[in-house]
């Protein structure tokens, strides 16, 4: 019940973020969506994800507000809005149809297939010594994924610092 209310709130917030006239209101609406997602993770009993979502959302909001506060870019919609709307609606319909057919095959919400996870839950603490089983999975059983994530972050930092460096001297 709370989850459905939160999902409804997130949809409304996303619609406001798309439709708002100035950028700062959009950023605030995006922040509301992110904090509602944090609460949803908490209701679904995933405190690790909730903490990460909270702090990353705060950092993203600071960066977005800092980047958009001074320049207010007005939204310009003119021209072929009818065909654009029609194309978007057709794409959403096709996407929802295929998503519906694909989701029929998956296990239901809240009833996962506990094939590999059962072994982690039963033997995780004994094999790694970590009480927090999320840490045991991401840093021991599935540490390759964490290495990949660290590499992605490293590459993105290098890319940002290369693109956003101070412009060089002009001779």
């Amino acid at each position: 019940m709370e989850l459905h209310l939160l999902l409804l709130f997130m949809i409304v917030g996303a619609l406001i973020a798309v439709e708002a006239k100035d950028l700062l209101s959009s950023v605030v609406a995006v922040g509301a969506v992110g904090f509602a997602l944090c609460l949803a993770f908490l209701i679904l009993k995933a405190p690790d994800l909730a903490i990460t979502q909270l702090v990353v959302e705060i950092l993203c909001l600071i960066i977005l507000i800092r980047a958009t506060l001074r320049k207010d870019l007005p939204l310009v919609i003119k021209g072929r809005w009818f065909f654009n709307t029609l194309g978007t609606l057709a794409f959403i319909a096709v996407f929802l149809f295929f998503a519906h057919t694909a989701l029929q095959e998956l296990p239901g919400f809240g009833h996962p297939i506990m094939a590999v996870v059962k072994r982690y839950l039963q033997q995780g603490t004994a094999q790694t010594g970590a009480v927090n089983l999320v840490a045991a999975v991401i840093l021991d059983f599935r540490a390759y994924d964490t290495l990949g994530e660290a590499t992605v972050l490293f590459a993105s930092v290098i890319g940002i610092m290369a693109v956003l460096r101070r412009p060089g001297r002009i001779k």
Binding site: I51, I63, R66, S156, M161
Partner: protein, 148 residues
């Protein structure tokens, strides 16, 4: 430099920041060190550590934060942390496999337990914290150079 009224935000924000920013950093370190015992871990703790420096920069301006952690130091620390995580992974080859947890596991629910997991948490938190701070710093410097 810290009390210059022209740079940064107002006096109220500066006083509150001076009182709280150390506690925020301490909370980030706590989340990192207890990553294998309680919710949290390297990524969340690292972002909190980065947020403490971002907080300092927002309240006092760029120069005070750069005095605590300069851009070159941030780049070097990030590379060192990435190599640290990779060397922890390679250290597992002494036990036979990549990422093998070969250090003594210890007693569960103790701070010093779980083998290499706290070390990996430390490396990831250093990497994430310094990396996100460097991204924010690059954005701020770009904005200032555009305004000139």
């Amino acid at each position: 430099m810290m009390n210059d009224p022209k740079i940064g935000m107002s006096l109220i924000v500066k006083t509150v920041t001076r009182l709280t920013v150390g506690l925020i950093l301490l909370f980030g370190i706590y989340i990192v060190l207890h990553g294998h015992l309680s919710p949290g871990g390297g990524f969340a703790g690292g972002v909190i550590i980065a947020l403490s420096f971002v907080h300092l920069m927002l309240a006092f301006g760029k120069d005070v934060a750069l005095k605590k952690l300069s851009k070159n130091l941030a780049s070097n620390l990030e590379s060192i942390a990435a190599l640290m995580f990779l060397s922890i992974a390679l250290f597992g080859f002494f036990g036979g496999a990549f990422f093998s947890n070969i250090i003594n596991k210890g007693v569960p629910f103790q701070l010093f337990s779980a083998g290499t997991i706290p070390l990996s948490n430390l490396a990831i938190s250093l990497k994430v914290g310094v990396g996100l701070f460097a991204i924010f710093l690059a954005l701020v410097i770009l904005e200032e150079s555009k305004r000139k």
